[in-house]
C-alpha cells in the first residue's frame, strides 16, 4: 500500500518538474534583456556583442537551447555561468553551504518556538499565555523579515557588537563563527513563520481539544496533561505538518531578502544577482532547484501524512 503511494507520488513529481522546467524556460525567453549587452556595457561595438552572443550560444534557436539545458541537467551538468564564467554546479554548491543551514536553522527555531507556544496557548484558552501568544503572532505576521533583520543589525551588531553586521566567514573559519553569522538572519527569517505556525498549532489544538474522543479520554480518567500529550498533540500535528511543508517555500523565498540584508552569499542572493545581470543560465538552474526543493518537500510531507494518519494509507 505504502509502496504504491510512493510510486504514484514519484511519477507526478517527475511530471511536475518537467512542466516547471518548460515554464521557467519560456518565461526567461520573453524576459527583456540581452546578457551580452549587459556584460559589455554601452560602449561595446555591434561586432563585439555578436562575438559574445556566439560564445555564449545565444544565437542558437530556442528549442535547441532548451534541449541542451535539460539534457545537461539529466547528465548532472548545470551549465556555465555567463557572468562568473564557471560551472553553475560549483556556484550552487558553494551557496547551498549558506542557504541550506540558514533555512534549516530557521525551521528549527520556528518550530521550536511555535509548537510549545501554540499548544500552551490552546491548553488555557484566553489565559495570559494565550493572550501573549496572540500578540506575538499578530506582530510576527505583520512585520516583514528583512525589517526585523535591519533592527537586529542595528541592535546586536552596531550597538552591542555581539554579532558581525553581515557577511559570512565560510565554514572553513570554524563552526562557531559561521553559526554566529547565520544566527541573526535565521531568527529574522524564522520569526514571521513562527508566528503563522503558532496560530495554526493553536487553532489545530483547540479543534482537537473540542473533539469527542478527547472528551471520552478525559471521561475515562486520563489526566489533562496525558490527554494533551497522547491524544491532542498527535492529531493536531497533521494540519501543522501541512503548513510547515508549505512554509518551506517561504523560507527559501524569504532567504532572498534576508540574505541581501545580511549580505550572506547564499542561493537567494545568487538568484537576485543573476536576475540583475541576466545570467540566464544561473537563473534557470536556481529557479528549477528552488521549485525542485519545494516539490520534493511536498512529496515528503505527503508521505509524512501517511505515516501520521493511518487513514490516508488506503487512498493512494
Amino acid at each position: 500500500m505504502m509502496l504504491r503511494l510512493i510510486t504514484s507520488r514519484l511519477v507526478s513529481l517527475a511530471v511536475t518538474l518537467l512542466a516547471v522546467s518548460l515554464a521557467i524556460f519560456l518565461i526567461l525567453e520573453v524576459l527583456p534583456g540581452d546578457p551580452a549587452a549587459i556584460m559589455l556595457g554601452t560602449a561595446a561595438r555591434e561586432d563585439t556583442l555578436a562575438a559574445l552572443r556566439q560564445e555564449l550560444g545565444l544565437d542558437q534557436p530556442a528549442l535547441v537551447r532548451y534541449l541542451h539545458w535539460i539534457g545537461g541537467i539529466l547528465h548532472g551538468d548545470l551549465g556555465q555561468s555567463i557572468t562568473y564564467k564557471m560551472p553553475v554546479s560549483t556556484l550552487v554548491a558553494e551557496r547551498m553551504n549558506v542557504t541550506l543551514p540558514l533555512s534549516l536553522l530557521a525551521i528549527l527555531i520556528s518550530t521550536a518556538l511555535a509548537l510549545p507556544l501554540g499548544v500552551a496557548a490552546a491548553a488555557r484558552r484566553d489565559g495570559i499565555v494565550d493572550r501573549a501568544v496572540l500578540v506575538f503572532s499578530q506582530l510576527g505576521v505583520a512585520v516583514p523579515n528583512f525589517w526585523i533583520g535591519l533592527l537586529f543589525i542595528l541592535f546586536f551588531s552596531t550597538w552591542l557588537g555581539w554579532f558581525p553586521a553581515g557577511g559570512f566567514p565560510g565554514w572553513s573559519a570554524g563552526v562557531w563563527p559561521a553559526l554566529q553569522a547565520l544566527l541573526l538572519p535565521a531568527v529574522a527569517l524564522a520569526l514571521p513563520q513562527a508566528a503563522v505556525l503558532t496560530r495554526v498549532t493553536r487553532s489545530a489544538t483547540l479543534e482537537v481539544i473540542g473533539a469527542d474522543f478527547v472528551r471520552t479520554a478525559r471521561a475515562k480518567g486520563v489526566d489533562r496533561g496525558g490527554t494533551l500529550r497522547r491524544h491532542v498533540v498527535p492529531n493536531a500535528l497533521i494540519p501543522v505538518t501541512t503548513i510547515l511543508g508549505l512554509q518551506l517555500s517561504f523560507f527559501f523565498g524569504g532567504a532572498i531578502l534576508v540574505e541581501n540584508v545580511f549580505n550572506l552569499p547564499g542561493l537567494g542572493r545568487l538568484a537576485y544577482q543573476a536576475l540583475n545581470q541576466r545570467d540566464l543560465v544561473v537563473i534557470k538552474d536556481i529557479v528549477l532547484i528552488f521549485s525542485g526543493l519545494v516539490i520534493v518537500v511536498n512529496f515528503i510531507v505527503d508521505i509524512g501524512y501517511a505515516i501520521l494518519d493511518p487513514r490516508l494509507r488506503g487512498r493512494a
Partner: protein, 493 residues
Amino acid sequence: MTKRLLTAALLLTVSVIPAFAAKTSLVVGMPIEPPGLDPTIAAPVAIREVTWVNLYEGLVRIDRAGKIQPLLAKSWEVTPDGLTYTFHLQEGVKFHDGSAFDSADVKFAFDRARDPKSTNAQKQIFAPITSIETPDPATVVIKLKETSGNFLYYLGWGDAVIVAPESAANNAANPVGTGPFKFKSWTRGDRVDLVRNPDYWQKDKTKLESVTFRFISDAQAQVAALKAGDVDAFPNLGAPELFAEFQKDSRFKAVAGNTEGEIVAGMNNAKKPFDDVRVRRALMHAVDRKALIEGAYSGFGQPIGSFFSPNNPAFVDMTGVVPYDPEKAKALLKEAGFGNGLSISIKSPQMAYASRSAELLSAMLSEVGVDLKIIPTEFPAKWIEEVFKAKDYDMTIVAHTEPLDIDIFARDNYYFNYKNDTFKALVADAAKTTDEKARYAKYAEAQKILAEDVPALFLFQLPKLGVWNAKVQGLWENSPIPSNDVTDVSWTE
C-alpha cells in the same frame, strides 16, 4: 638584578612591539561584486575596482590626478607624425605564475583585444593600430593608421592591461597579472582575497600584506559594516544621506570627491518636441541643479553644464551657459508652441540617484507647465533593451561613468539620437590632435557646443563618497578612472 632587568626588558618588548607594528591588512568594501576578474573581456566597473593596477598592469597607468604615468613601459617615443609609438619595457618583470613578461606578451595582449572574436568592451582603443612589432624582448613598436591624441591615455585603462598567453583564458576566475598583489581566493557572493606579490618588480612599493574586497550591496549594511569595523574602507559609499554622520565622526575619514560619472537626463533628440532646441533649453532652464543635488544626493556632487568630468584637465565649467531661470523656460516653451503645457515621460532606472533625480525633475518641470511622467525602468536589462537599443523613450536618466566619453554625443545611432556634424567633426579632430594644449582647446569648444545645444539635461557629477578608517592613508579621493588602487595604502601607527 640582571634577572630583573631582563624581565623588565622582556616586558617592555612585549608591550611595545604590538603598538609599533602597523596593520598590514586592508578590507575594502564595494557595493557590487565583479562578474569575473578579467577587465579585458567585460565592461563592469567593479572588475576594474578590484583588479586594475592591483592585479594587472598596463604599459602605462593613470594616476590619482588623472595623469598618464609609466608602468610596464618605462619610457616611450612617438615619431613626429604621431603614427609610431616605441615602448621600452621594464625588465625583470614576472607574471604571478612565474612566467617572464616581455614584448611578446604585449603583442599577445593587444592582438587578443583587437581580434574579431574578442569581447573587449573598449575595442575602439585598439582600432587605430595597424601593426605591433617586437624587435627585441624589451621593445614594442606600435604603428597607427591615424594620429590619436588619447592613445596613450587609453592604454592606461583596465581594458588594455597586459595578460599572458599561458593564463589569459582563465583570468576571469583565476587572474594572473604582473601587479603588486596576487589573487588568493574568491568566495563568490562575499569577498575576493589578494596577497602581496613577493616577486613584484618594484621592490617595497606596497606596504600591505593582504587586501580583501568585500561586496555589500545594501547601503544600510555598508554603514553597519564600517561602524562594526568589519570593513576598513568604503571608497564608494551608497548612502549619501548617512555620509555627513561619518564626516562628524573622528574615527573615520570621509571625503566627497568626484567620479568620472556625469548624471544626465538624456533626451530623444529625434523625437518631437525634443528636436526643437528651444524646448531642450527650456527644460534645462527649469532645472535648479543645486536643489536637485540637495534632494537627490544630500548636497554632494558638483553641478555640470556640459559633458566633461571636472577631474579632466580639459574641463571647463559650463553651468552658466543655460542657468536656472524658470521665467526664461516658460518664455521659450511658449515660443516653441507649448505655452499651454507639455506632457512628456522619463524612463528612470531604480538606482537611488536616478529615481530621486527623476522625482525632483518632475517637480521642477511642473513649475514651468511641463508634466513629466515617471516610468520606472529596470537597469541594466530593461533599460538597455528599451532606451539604449530600441530608443523607445522621451527622456531618461543615467550616469555615464566612462572617462573621456564626450564622443558618445558624436556616435551615430547612440540612444540620444543627437546629430550635430560640427560637433562630430570637432570631437574627431580633438581625438586626433597630439598637441595637448590644442587638444584641450578643442575639447573646451566641444563642451560649449553641448552646453548650448542641450542634447541632454546636464545635471551633476556623480560624487565619490569615500569613508575609511582615520588611520588608513593613501586611498584615492577622486576617481579619474574606475579603480580602488591600494598600492600606496598604509596604516599609520
